[in-house]
């Protein structure tokens, strides 16, 4: 038989252990119950896919950031059809508003004035006579 003091100590230890166990349970159980439900009902089935996407993304960024990677910063030489293109589009067609021949790359600024829209356009009522008369 152990001495009363030792009894007390082991009792106290046991009690403390019990209390700790209960506290731990109360903290864990709610979360465990919720997560258990989510897992059993299959509501988290995409976690693997999501993590895979994140991993691929991180990998991609690392590869692109690599200065030895030539693909990222290369200027265009030819497109996939073997064509080259000037910095200002050179195709020429007729403006559907005034009928003049316009270079593609300058069509938008022309059209803006031609249609009388935008800040830089002059506020003029009739379009057709103006377009024909103006000498740009």
């Amino acid at each position: 038989m152990s001495a009363p003091d030792e009894d007390n100590t082991s009792n106290n230890t046991q009690l403390a252990s019990n209390f700790f166990g209960e506290l731990l349970d109360s903290v864990i159980m709610d979360v465990a119950s919720e997560c258990h439900r989510v897992a059993r009902l299959g509501l988290d089935r995409n976690l693997d896919d999501e993590e895979e996407e994140l991993r691929l993304s991180a990998q991609a960024r690392a590869r692109v950031a690599d200065p030895s990677n030539s693909e990222t910063n290369s200027k265009y030489v030819v497109d996939i059809f073997g064509q080259t293109h000037p910095s200002v589009a050179a195709e020429i067609f007729d403006c559907m508003n005034c009928g003049r021949s316009i270079v593609a790359g300058r069509f938008a600024p022309h059209l803006e004035k031609c249609m009388g829209k935008g800040r830089k356009a002059r506020v003029k009522a009739t379009r057709s006579s103006t377009a024909a008369a103006q000498n740009r």
């Binding site: 349970d25 109360s26 159980m29 709610d30 119950s33 919720e34 258990h36 439900r37 989510v38 059993r40 009902l41 509501l43 995409n46 896919d49 999501e50 993590e51 996407e53 994140l54 991993r55 691929l56 993304s57 991180a58 990998q59 991609a60 960024r61 590869r63 692109v64 950031a65 693909e71 990222t72 265009y76 497109d79 996939i80 059809f81 073997g82 064509q83 293109h85 589009a89 195709e91 067609f93 403006c95 559907m96 508003n97 593609a104 790359g105 300058r106 069509f107 938008a108 600024p109 059209l111 803006e112 249609m115 829209k117 935008g118 800040r119 830089k120 379009r127 057709s128």
Partner: protein, 555 residues
């Protein structure tokens, strides 16, 4: 309280909530002798103690067979197996020592919880969506190839476009429809969106299968073909759908020279006058404006119903329109007000840096990789978009049940997913107060495959009720409601913006036959998928993995 009954009949008392009616002091009635006897010696835990050891709450289980109450320790000893975890309203199998699940139980719990939370009103579950009663049968996708009779028809009524012969240049190895678009002067905002739309499968199919024939449309509306008659030019019918048809025909012709979408620009500026100026526009604004243009013109012609949510009005809405559900819940009584609104895209705020969670992945060999510490993700933005948001005290919502303005919670969810989901990332912040704008360059991770089911109204509602499995608004029986099979999406186009706010450049990455191409105005180049993953996404386009076709006719 003396009250004249006659007086009461003449004057109608205003409705007051239960809360306001209760006085502060609660009377506890005198117990009967039987109750007193029962409680003697049992103390506070008279109504909830383990039958074996007398342990009180919490963590007690109530047997469903005999109504005995046991604690966790004595549960395995009990003669019956199934019990209810009283704290969590979960079924517990005493034999397995594990939580188990049942649909009927969940339904019962939800109904009880809702009744308790909303003081008797189960309105958030019972609100029917304001849509057409007409049921639409969904038909599964079946691939089609022409039979011999159809082949003969194809042979006699059509001719191969030049450049499509198989023995010609390697250009034919690239997908048809891949073609550069000339920059007409700061029009990359338009080119980038057009490239995405040209390769939006349902939209592409619609125009390429001649569903909006521009010649027929123009003929029907009596367009004057006399080019020299300038005066009549102004009455020339504007139809963005016709211009789109012309664009599709040109781009899918097989010719690889870049196309100048001049007529399209002209038409669009006529439609969206306020945006017509020679300066860089916002690609997203153009996208919305263009869909609106197609809707407006087609709608007037066909006289179809205007309801955007059902997508019956025009091809633009048929492809892009979804339905958002907005729930506003009173924090006092639980009453929920639900509204539905159609949307053609979802604009997402970039999650503020301090809110981004850090994630640690553990690889197989046990080493912890800290991946994506603080990286914003599209899913994170969607989580944020659908999370319950507490409306400020200055935005109190009038609760119909309480009859006063109360603080409330607002939560968004997706009732119906569109065929094509466009996500717009709000990278351009315009501050009218500070009179300045800025661009947010922060990287956003976006997946190539996307499952939208966690953001559906059914999922959000389910999680609001503790992830219970219960019948929700005709779960699966309602054809308008999205279910799991239609919530899987694949990325097919990404519009990116590089550079500064006012001196930037838009380009588009396209995914065709699982190969990525970069469309930078006139330049079309092939790129590795890593480039796309690492790119700064501004608008991401996803299409439903399993395309389905609406059965026509039957009501």
């Amino acid at each position: 309280m003396s009250s004249n009954s006659d007086h009461q009949n003449h004057r109608r008392r205003p409705y007051v909530s239960n809360q306001q009616r209760q006085s502060t002091a609660v009377i506890v009635p005198t117990p009967c002798s039987h109750l007193t006897e029962f409680k003697a010696g049992r103390g506070e835990t008279a109504f909830g103690r383990c039958g074996a050891c007398g342990k009180g709450p919490p963590r007690l289980y109530a047997c469903v067979s005999c109504a005995a109450v046991v604690c966790g320790v004595h549960a395995p000893d009990h003669e019956h197996q199934i019990a209810i975890d009283v704290d969590r309203a979960e079924l517990f199998c005493c034999s397995c020592g594990d939580q188990v699940y049942d649909r009927d139980f969940d339904s019962a719990v939800v109904l009880l919880q809702t009744a308790a939370a909303t003081l008797g009103g189960c309105n958030s579950l019972c609100t029917p969506p304001p849509e057409s009663i007409r049921k639409r049968r969904r038909v599964d996708y079946r691939p089609w190839t022409p039979d011999s009779k159809e082949r003969a028809l194809l042979g006699t009524h059509s001719s191969l476009l030049p450049g499509n012969n198989e023995d010609l240049s390697p250009n034919s190895n690239f997908p048809v429809g891949l073609k550069g678009l000339n920059n007409l002067g700061n029009t990359c905002f338009m080119n980038s969106v057009l490239q995405a739309l040209l390769h939006t499968p349902p939209l592409r199919n619609y125009f390429l299968s001649d569903r909006h024939n521009r010649f027929v449309c123009q003929q029907k509306n009596g367009v004057n073909h006399n080019k020299n008659d300038r005066k009549n030019k102004n009455s020339q019918r504007l139809c963005l759908a016709c211009d789109a048809d012309a664009l599709f025909s040109a781009v899918f012709s097989g010719d690889r020279k870049p196309y100048s979408p001049a007529k399209f620009l002209y038409s669009w500026w006529q439609h969206a006058g306020n945006l017509a100026s020679y300066e860089q526009q916002d690609a997203h604004e153009f996208f919305i404006s263009m869909l609106d243009g197609i809707h407006e013109k087609v709608d007037k012609d066909e006289r179809k119903p205007h309801s955007q949510g059902s997508g019956d009005c025009c091809i633009a809405h048929r492809v892009f329109s979804g339905i958002l559900r907005s729930d506003v819940m009173c924090t006092a009584c639980g009453f929920t007000s639900t509204t539905y609104d159609p949307c053609v895209d979802i604009s997402l705020d970039l999650v503020p840096t301090h809110e981004v969670p850090t994630k640690t992945l553990h690889s197989c060999n046990g080493k912890a990789e800290t991946v994506n510490s603080g990286i914003s993700t599209l899913l994170g933005c969607l989580d944020r978009f659908t999370r319950p948001e507490r409306l400020g005290s200055d935005q109190k919502f009038f609760c119909q049940q309480c009859q006063v303005r109360q603080e409330s919670l607002k939560q968004m969810s997706i009732r119906k997913l569109p065929l094509v989901s466009c996500f717009h990332i709000k990278r351009f912040e315009h501050s009218p107060i500070r009179k300045m704008s800025r661009k947010v360059d922060r990287y956003l991770q976006f997946p190539f495959s996307l499952d939208m089911s966690p953001y559906l109204s059914s999922s959000i509602l389910r999680s609001r009720f503790g992830n219970r499995s219960f019948g929700f608004e005709g779960d699966g029986k309602d054809p308008d409601c999205s279910n799991e099979s239609t919530s899987e999406f694949e990325l097919f186009a990404v519009v990116t913006h590089s550079g500064k706010l006012d001196a930037g450049h838009y380009s588009t990455y396209l995914r065709l036959s699982n190969q990525w191409y970069k469309c930078d105005d006139a330049w079309v180049t092939q790129v590795n998928e890593n480039i796309v993953r690492a790119a700064q996404g501004y608008m991401m386009f996803y299409v439903q993995k399993m395309l389905y076709y609406k059965a026509s006719g039957t009501s």
